[in-house]
């Protein structure tokens, strides 16, 4: 337990490295584009908007507040997918640093996570505000719970990334497998549909998908204007911590071997 704290203490000694990675990468991303950061918001709106308009016309998907459900799910999943798809390459793409500078491997992982988190937050906050103006989201008191939900989500993602970052070095095929799995996960998560619309046996499969719970914990406040139930919070907490611990065990066990396999 204490060693987890000291791991993070050690990594946060390099907080400026993380900050500099994140800010420089954000600058590089939109360098010389006319609209710049606006694209962070426009791209998901157009991308998800088209899908949502088409799907909402299907009779079966005509659920209540389809757009609110779809946008909140799609944007959260987009964050998960972007962070996890890149994770197999964290060490491979930082090879030149790893072989020459002695900083904890966690720093590279955190840099990637925070970079994706920054991108996500820009689009998430804007879309929630715009969505509220159009009446598909609700900004009321329970919204204060959203940061807690997001922290749980990030901790969950962090565990997966640690695992995949190490695994990606040893099994290079993962770099192709993970994006394919992401697409499957998208359709296995209640984003384009709600869990109630599915037949009973599919509901069980969805219930086994951890992402479902994180989508719900954040949808409760912003889509339904309610606080999440205590059971839901507990489930998310357990999933987050388990994922985090598994990721940590893997990273600790293999981080010193990574450098030989790059």
């Amino acid at each position: 337990m204490f060693s987890i704290v000291s791991d993070y203490k050690e990594a946060f000694k390099y907080k400026y490295v993380i900050g500099s990675f994140v800010s420089s990468n954000l600058k590089v991303r939109y360098r010389r584009s006319v609209l710049g950061y606006v694209w962070t918001v426009l791209v998901p709106i157009f991308q998800y908007g088209v899908i949502a308009i088409v799907l909402s016309q299907l009779a079966r998907s005509a659920a209540e507040n389809y757009f609110g459900n779809f946008f909140s799910g799609a944007i959260l999943f987009g964050f998960f997918s972007a962070a996890v798809s890149k994770s197999t390459l964290v060490f491979l793409s930082n090879e030149h640093y790893l072989k020459k500078v002695a900083i904890p491997k966690l720093v590279y992982i955190l840099s990637d996570v925070f970079y994706e988190l920054a991108n996500f937050l820009i689009s998430f906050v804007t879309i929630v505000l715009v969505g509220t103006a159009f009446g598909i989201f609700k900004v009321s008191l329970p919204v204060l719970f959203v940061p807690v939900g997001l922290i749980l989500f990030v901790v969950f993602i962090l565990g997966i990334i640690k695992l995949l970052a190490v695994a990606g070095v040893f099994f290079r095929d993962l770099k192709y497998i993970v994006p394919v799995l992401m697409q499957a996960t998208f359709f296995m998560s209640p984003i384009a549909y709600t869990i109630e619309q599915m037949p009973k046996k599919f509901q069980i499969i969805i219930a086994l998908n951890p992402i479902y719970y994180f989508l719900e914990i954040i949808r409760r406040p912003i889509v339904h204007g309610k606080m999440p139930e205590v059971e839901l919070i507990m489930i998310c907490l357990i999933i987050s911590i388990s994922s985090f611990l598994i990721g940590r065990v893997f990273l600790k066990k293999f981080e010193n071997k990574v450098i030989f396999k790059l």
């Binding site: 000694k13 390099y14 400026y16 490295v17 900050g19 500099s20 990675f21 420089s24 600058k27 590089v28 030149h96 640093y97 790893l98 072989k99 020459k100 500078v101 002695a102 900083i103 010193n256 071997k257 450098i259 030989f260 396999k261």
Partner: protein, 252 residues
């Protein structure tokens, strides 16, 4: 007090083969116990095998040996880039590795961004880097290009910037691998002078070099490495002679 303590350090170097099995081969091999055992085995050797030394204030150590003897690996272990498989490395004092110039450069970032990124990686804060920033840019002579991404730099400019960053910090413990010579003649002169200054100021120094005259000039203790083990540890002239006679087998 500054100290570098290396105790019984062994480093197992894992050698991974890049042999890739086709799926058919992989499956057939899975069913044969013998090849299955071979498949998962990663060959390894000890790049460093039981190395110990202690350096205190004022000590200047030179490490010599043939190519592949483990010199650079030893420096990487001392700096913490590689973790020893067995043994302990303890360092007291701020350490600056000059192992490879341009260590932490990202070609997409501007010169200035790279200065900061590098400085942060070496454990400096924003104010400390701001103090050095101007001097680094001046020394590298890339004033006009400092806010341009490094990928547009000429190779000489990159090398000069890298050198300027790496040597802008005056560490208490200097770990120094042979530096590449970069830039035109006037820059090489400047660079040599600067290294001289760094060497003078460092409290403890570890140098790896094939340049035996340089070693003889600077250090007062020599370690000769052969296949990852120390075969000589002692006074400089004796070490160099031993190296020439016993390891490199050259006359004179």
């Amino acid at each position: 007090m500054h100290q570098v303590k290396v105790e019984n350090v062994r480093l197992e170097y894992l050698k991974f083969t890049d042999q890739i099995y086709t799926f058919k081969e992989y499956v057939t091999k899975l069913f044969s116990w013998k090849t299955r055992k071979n498949m998962s085995k990663v060959s390894s050797f000890y790049a460093l095998d039981g190395i110990s030394f202690t350096l205190n204030d004022g000590d200047k150590l030179g490490v010599i040996g043939l190519n592949g003897a483990g010199k650079s690996t030893l420096l990487k272990v001392v700096c913490g880039i590689l973790q020893p498989t067995e043994g302990v490395v303890e360092v007291q004092g701020n350490m600056q590795p000059l192992i490879e110039v341009g260590a932490g450069f990202n070609p997409e970032f501007t010169g200035r961004e790279n200065i900061y990124l590098n400085g942060y990686m070496l454990g400096f804060n924003k104010i400390q880097i701001q103090e050095k920033e101007k001097e680094v840019i001046e020394f590298a002579g890339i004033d006009d290009f400092i806010d341009t991404p490094i990928k547009y730099y000429s190779s000489g400019m990159v090398a000069r910037l890298a050198f300027a960053i790496a040597t802008s910090i005056e560490p208490e413990i200097l770990v120094f691998d042979e530096m590449i010579s970069a830039g035109d003649i006037s820059f090489i002169e400047k660079a040599k002078k600067r290294i001289g200054e760094l060497l003078e100021k460092a409290k403890i120094m570890i140098i790896v070099s094939h340049d035996l005259t340089l070693i003889e000039d600077i250090v007062d203790r020599v370690i000769v490495l052969k296949n990852g083990s120390v075969v000589y540890d002692g006074e400089t002239t004796g070490g160099i002679q031993y190296y020439k006679r016993e390891v490199a087998k050259v006359e004179g």
